[in-house]
Amino acid sequence: MNNEFFPLFFSFHFYLFAVIALLSAILFVTRKSPVAAALWLVNVMFCLAALYVMLDAQLIGAIQVLVYAGAIMVVFLFVVMLLNLGKPEDVSDIRGQLPRVTAGFVGAALLAEVMVLARAKWNAQLTLPVASGETMRNEPGGIIAPIAEVLLKDQLLAFELASILLLVAIVGAVTLGRKRS
């Protein structure tokens, strides 16, 4: 499904997923219950995965679902369960009226600045290139080849270090989470 074959279909779904992601994010931020919030975040990630696929980053979309939504958010929910934080508390953890309003302004200011800067410092005529997933599929290596080439050739060192990082994280997590008797 590329934008050059079914543009309307493409645009509709793009906006659909975008709106759902946005609404889910807002709902996520405003829930009192940690479990509800986590689940709304999962929803955001699913929508983002869909957007990735539509942007021809199918690998990333898959990994997003598998790793991010499937593993990381599950860990979050595990911890919530472990610490028995499931029920909405009597005392809400959301800050009072004034901080919320101020935070709203700050967020709005941040958004505004980013938009202004993006418009001002950007070459507005950037367009997406013609090469689409359809054509890439037929190349030797398929649509994975560009990613693999960068990952395993140019960024090999970073790749290896990332694996070490994960090892360290595992050891760290286990060490920190151990019960001290």
């Binding site: 992601a21 955001v44 911890v79 610490l83 959301i94 709203g104 967020g107 290139p129 920190l176």
Partner: protein, 97 residues
């Protein structure tokens, strides 16, 4: 699609910032940070269509780091909960002064 993706990314980021500023539960705070990372991922993926695959590779690394960070961070939260019986941010103030 590029402009809309970037706009959505900025909006999600701003929502994430608002969340960080408003919530006092450590775990939810963490999740807001994850939301911010996701927003950035979206912007990277959108731009990688223009600038090539290195954007997507960067996203891979971001996800990796996010995973590691989530693991260690949550282990720390559990440690703190064991000492203070609370993940409310106002109670974690040993650095006061």
């Amino acid at each position: 699609m590029l402009a809309e993706s970037l706009a959505l990314s900025a909006a999600l980021f701003a929502i994430g910032v608002i969340g960080v500023l408003t919530r006092r539960n450590a775990i939810i705070l963490f999740m807001c940070v994850e939301l911010m990372l996701n927003a950035v991922n979206l912007s990277l993926v959108a731009l990688s269509k223009v600038y090539g695959a290195s954007g997507e590779v960067f996203v891979l690394f971001v996800i990796t780091v996010a995973a590691a960070e989530a693991a260690v961070g949550l282990a720390i939260v559990i440690s703190i909960f064991r000492h203070r019986q609370s993940v409310h941010l106002d109670d974690i103030n040993l650095l006061k002064g």
